[in-house]
Structure formats: C-alpha cells, structure tokens
Amino acid sequence: MFNVIGGAIGGAVDGIGDAIRRAVADLPGGAVGFRVEPDQVFALANRFDDIADRIQGSVAPEIRRLHVAPPGADKPSRDAADRLRDTAFGDAGLVTRLSAYATQLREAAASLRLTGQQYGLTDTTEGGRLSASSL
C-alpha cells in the first residue's frame, strides 16, 4: 500500500503514474491504495487511461509484426519462433504482462471515475467527454 495525499497533487500526476508503475512492478500481487484530492480524481483517471493508451498503441503494432512473421522452414528457425512466441505470449510473457497492466490501469481509471461520481463530482475533462460518448 502507498498513499498519495496533498494539495499539490495536480502537478504530481505524472509522478503518480510513475509511482504506481514502480509499485506495480515491485508487487507481483495485491492491491494498491492511494488518496486523491477531489478536484484531481478525473484528471488522474484520464492519466491512467492515457498510459494504457500508450501501452496498447505501442504494443499492438509490434505484436502484429511478430504474429505475421513468415514461419521458418528449418527446425532451428521453428524452434526459435516457438521460443519467441512463449516469451511474448506465454503466461509470463511480456505481451501478457503488459496487457494485464493496461487492464489494471483501465480498471483503476474506472474506479476513480466511479468514486468521483459517488462523491457527487462532475467530470468536465476531455476524458469525461470520451467516456460519456462511449455510453
């Protein structure tokens, strides 16, 4: 667990993202709790979604390149391709882990927005407009 509390949170949003990334990297399981100033709830949710966008937007094209690469005709090439696939897509594979991380960022963003709504806050940010348009 770690807490982020304070009035200077707006300027520290980038730092929060970094802190959470570090925390997530350090903790293979469990929950991360944090405290947010009410006027920054939606900004932080947007920040989480932005990070997830960048992860997915960067990873997806690379996955395609990996996925469509022509299969090798010889056994060493096939073995190497199998190994690469496991490294990327296996349970502990990088793609699997990055996807899980992006999922958790999305869930954290959704939790933040829900919390804000429960406290009667109104999302006037661009992210709020995107969320509303998707309903």
């Binding site: 009410p38 937007g57 395609r64 299969p71 899980a100 998707s134």
Partner: protein, 180 residues
C-alpha cells in the same frame, strides 16, 4: 479532503491499378482432407490502398459497435506500411494495417479463408489469443486486421468471430470509399 481509492493490481509486473480481372496474390491452400491443392479464389474487385487512411476506414457506427472509445493511435511500421490502432477501454485493441508494398504472398502462408469474398490468410498460433486476418485486396498489397483482447477470459473462438466481423466491416468501408 482527499478521497481514498483502492485499485486492485493483481498480477501486473511490471497508383491505381486498372480494373480488370483481379487475381489473388497468395499461395494456394492445401486441402488437408484430400491432399489436393486448392487455388485461391479470385478477388471480387481490385482495392488499391495507395490513397486510403487506415483510421478513416472505421466509421462511427463501427466504433460504437466495438466499444472503441479512446483516441486513435496511428503509426508507421516501415516503408509502405500504415497502421491505425483503435482502442477500447473495456475490451482491447483493434488494429488496421495497410501494407502497400507487401501482398499476402509475402506472408509465406497458404490462403485459408475468405473475407467478404476476398482471399485471406487467417493466422492462428497455439496459445496466442489474437485474431488476425490478412486480406488480399490488390496486387502486392494487403489489408491486415487484428484484434487483441485485454482480458484473457474471452474464448478464442469468440475473438476470431469478432475479428471476422470487424474485418468484414472494414473491408466494406474500404469498398465504399473506393466506390468498388
């Protein structure tokens, strides 16, 4: 006052070719049941990708149908390749790639399906939860569509069904834009 928020982080570590008789560019598929070689079907039309923008192939109604609610992520994956990654905050990513200098023959895989009547290569790998279709749209050019899911919960068959549905819609949009 600060709001307390708890989020569960469970596992995260971390030129326009002339119309005419379009011909398919892929290699023939081997019929596994009979051992005979099946020539790929001809393209219903020639759909050159030279002037097309991948993000513009996905219209608003399609975005709504697939819960695409995040800003588009356009990118380039080398000469002749233009990619648009479309994101859903709830389901995953949908990728549209225009390969303007590499047809489906460059995949070195047999043509094994069709999308909207066009010859296509459906690439599936064991243990990989990704839907991928490469569609033979013009000589030396192909349209790739790929669906990647955030969650590991969705059955693989459903991912492939969604991929086909998305690919058919993107292909229909391409035909509409080119008027063919």
């Amino acid at each position: 006052m600060a709001l307390a928020v708890t989020a569960a982080f469970a596992v995260a570590c971390g030129g326009d070719p002339e119309r005419g008789t379009p011909s398919p560019g892929g290699s023939a598929a081997q019929d596994t049941a009979t051992g005979t070689t099946v020539p790929p079907a001809p393209r219903p039309a020639e759909l050159p990708l030279d002037t097309v923008q991948p993000c513009r192939l996905v219209a608003d109604d399609l975005r709504a149908a697939f819960a695409i609610d995040r800003p588009d992520q356009p990118s380039s994956a080398g000469p002749g390749t233009e990619v648009c990654t479309l994101l859903s905050s709830t389901t995953g990513s949908y990728l549209v790639a225009l390969e303007r200098q590499a047809g489906i023959d460059r995949l070195e895989r047999p043509v094994n399906t069709t999308v909207g009547g066009f010859p296509a290569v459906d690439i599936r790998q064991e243990g990989v939860r990704i839907g991928h279709l490469s569609i033979d749209v013009a000589d030396g050019q192909r349209l790739d569509v790929e669906v990647q899911r955030l969650s590991g919960d969705q059955p693989v068959d459903l991912i492939h069904q969604d991929t086909l549905r998305f690919a058919e819609a993107v292909l229909a949009s391409l035909r509409q834009q080119l008027g063919r």
